[in-house]
Point group: C2
């Protein structure tokens, strides 16, 4: 029986044309992060399972981790997210970092979920985190960075919406305004987090089961769209003031498509304060794309003094859907500038010319199959490379190579130096 050619379920192969798209996307992310002074880091894709037990959230840990025992009996997991890892790295070298410490990573994450549009089991994320800033300028910077990434891709404000809320405000509402007990509050938050995935009637049924007689009060709150529409009893809270400041400051910095969203929870248990997300408004997608928030307590779990932190993670799958739906992906072409076709058996004599072209910055693939010219030309055409350079005895002795553009069919005789100018 032969082996299967299919990739593992829910994971993707990246053929050169797919890899070009990925490299383009990661390249834009990397450039913007570096512009904002962030530095790239990485860490093993395997982590101790216990790293996620504390704060990642029940669903991911119990149902979605790729967890197993290694040959030495250690319980490990393929990282489902990067936040616990970056917190571990900062905790380990806490004294060596200068603050604010700005870190980013682009890499693979694994979650055992049902594959569907916008969701794979192996996906890639840009994670951006700032450590050591205890005021909202950190949130401001990260939201501005997220926004700059999208604009760098060519997105305009109507294509997405930035939504913002505060865990502190939510906690206050549950405890002091709705006066719900801890478990009820927890269940309510988890339900609202799933709100957009549920049928409205199913949502209302579950909501009634959780909050009982307080249904009307909760529904009224969920209809609030502006901070100024909050009940008087909430308006003077510090968390509301910070949300107002953040939105106003973003407006001043030119980010207009940002709004308060009282139903925004973000799944992770570690968020402690402001949370935010970017929502893809295209009717085809109409869903949360990515987000983040402040998590001041995570570094402290490693037995060192906590560090105030804000971070977000941008996934590749929803982002690529967004770019494709809005036709924002540029046409990407192969990195190969030309296929060199060598007539006869002249490789050793042709090699210095090819080397000169490569040293001049051109990417040259050589057809070294020894086939006939027409077969080589056909193959070069199939490879989507735009040019062939034909090198035979004449070309070697004269130093003038034959350059053929496969799109136009145009043929010219040029020196290696002229070809470099022509193709670069």
């Amino acid at each position: 029986m032969s082996l299967s050619t299919q990739p593992y379920k829910g994971a993707r192969d990246f053929y050169p044309e797919d890899k070009l798209i990925q490299k383009y996307m990661f390249g834009v992310m990397r450039r913007v992060c570096e512009r904002f002074g962030y530095q790239e880091y990485d860490a093993p894709i395997l982590e101790p399972l216990e790293l996620y037990s504390a704060k990642t959230g029940e669903e991911i840990v119990n149902e979605q981790t790729y967890a197993f025992e290694d040959r030495g009996g250690r319980k490990v997991a393929l990282r489902p997210e990067m936040t616990p890892t970056v917190s571990r790295l900062v905790a380990l070298k806490r004294q060596e970092f200068a603050y604010p410490a700005r870190l980013f990573n682009i890499g693979g994450r694994w979650r055992y979920e049902r594959p569907q549009r916008g969701r794979y089991r192996e996906f890639f994320q840009l994670d951006v985190d700032i450590f050591g800033v205890d005021n909202i300028s950190a949130e401001l910077e990260l939201i501005q960075l997220m926004d700059t990434v999208l604009k760098e891709f060519g997105a305009t404000e109507s294509m997405y919406q930035i939504r913002i809320n505060s865990r502190k405000l939510v906690d206050y509402i549950i405890e002091n305004y709705l006066k719900l007990d801890k478990q009820t509050g927890h269940d309510l938050v988890k339900l609202i987090d799933r709100m957009n995935k549920l049928e409205p009637t199913k949502f209302e049924k579950e909501l009634t089961e959780i909050v009982g007689s307080k249904l009307k009060g909760v529904k009224e709150l969920l209809q609030i769209e502006k901070l100024t529409d909050l009940p008087e009893a909430l308006k003077d809270l510090q968390s509301v003031k910070e949300l107002t400041d953040t939105i106003n400051s973003l407006n001043k910095l030119g980010v207009q498509n940002v709004s308060f969203d009282i139903s925004l929870m973000r799944g992770f248990d570690y968020y402690t304060d402001i949370v935010f997300e970017v929502f893809d408004t295209h009717p085809t997608n109409n869903r949360s794309m990515f987000g983040g928030g402040r998590y001041d307590g995570l570094v402290g779990l490693f037995g060192v003094e906590p560090i105030p932190t804000v971070g977000f993670a941008m996934g590749d799958v929803t982002l690529q859907n967004f770019l494709e739906t809005n036709k924002l992906l540029p046409e990407l072409t192969t990195s190969v500038n030309a296929v060199a076709i060598i007539l006869g058996n002249e490789y050793a004599n042709a090699e210095p010319l090819i080397r000169e072209l490569r040293n001049g910055g051109l990417n040259i693939a050589v057809d070294n199959t020894g086939r006939k010219l027409d077969k080589q030309l056909k193959s070069a055409d199939k490879s989507k490379v735009k040019n062939v350079i034909i090198i035979g005895n004449d070309e070697i002795s004269s130093g003038k190579l034959t350059l053929k553009n496969l799109d136009t069919g145009k043929t010219v005789k040029l020196s290696a130096r002229q070809i470099m100018r022509e193709l670069s």
Copy 2:
């Protein structure tokens, strides 16, 4: 109890200074591969375990894979190597590729081995493969590419040695010259593959156990250092002719440090013809660095017509040891050009200036802690960023920013445009 800050045993965290080295190394690899017309691909780090059962070799599959069952009962493994994966990719889209197809990948691999100098459980490899060339020009190109990568790092020929052998020659020797049975031949190959890791007396003892009365003949063969010293009965073999051609052609192309090594086996079971490796000759290292060979049968395991293939894999750990031992790693500096220190509470007013600098190509980190100037300067100094830009009310109104070089202490007042010229 607090969580451990240590990475998983045998795996590495890459802090920004480590990541800079990795990016430098991968950047050189990527550039050379692209110069030779290779295109980058990728694939999931999880693969079906059976992918490795066929040809990867007993030791890796039975003792070193990170194998487990996923939540759906599938037997999977973290890929210990890339060759079966790239063969799977080519088999799946066999008709869509133009040949020769040139592919490379740089990514993580996992093997459960005892961590030691030059060996981690998570390591990274450059894998380079060429599909569709059935003559030795493919071997020539890949050896030349390996060699170009090392020279691009600044290596000179005395630092390493390229060794070459042929599985076909070895098979012929075992079957027709030594006339050993299949199992004995297999054991002999596996022993010779481990030769450099064994004490000479232990090697000789095991060798005697395997070949018995043929010990003298085997030892004589193992002492051969040149193709011309092979016994007459072997000299006219096609495999010997191809080895001779390959070495002579490499010499002509300017690669002199290449030699025949009859003891070179390379561990993987899938090699079918010429095999080669690069040996690190520095006394501190003195070991095989990386290698590859021809494996014409692997694509055929997926139920399609086989494709002649040559490939090699270059690991990051032995390579970094090599570069460090030979002092070939350049001094790498942070990507951050300057820390912007904002006096007072002027972020909203300073932001347009910072944005101008970033749009001009500079990477600017902002100190948004609101601390006193001296604390901000101290922190910028600790971060190893070379410059700070001080922005206060005066600077905002005059448009002249204060640029301070933290190495020299020199301070100048410059416009944003002048700073761009100064720092880029």
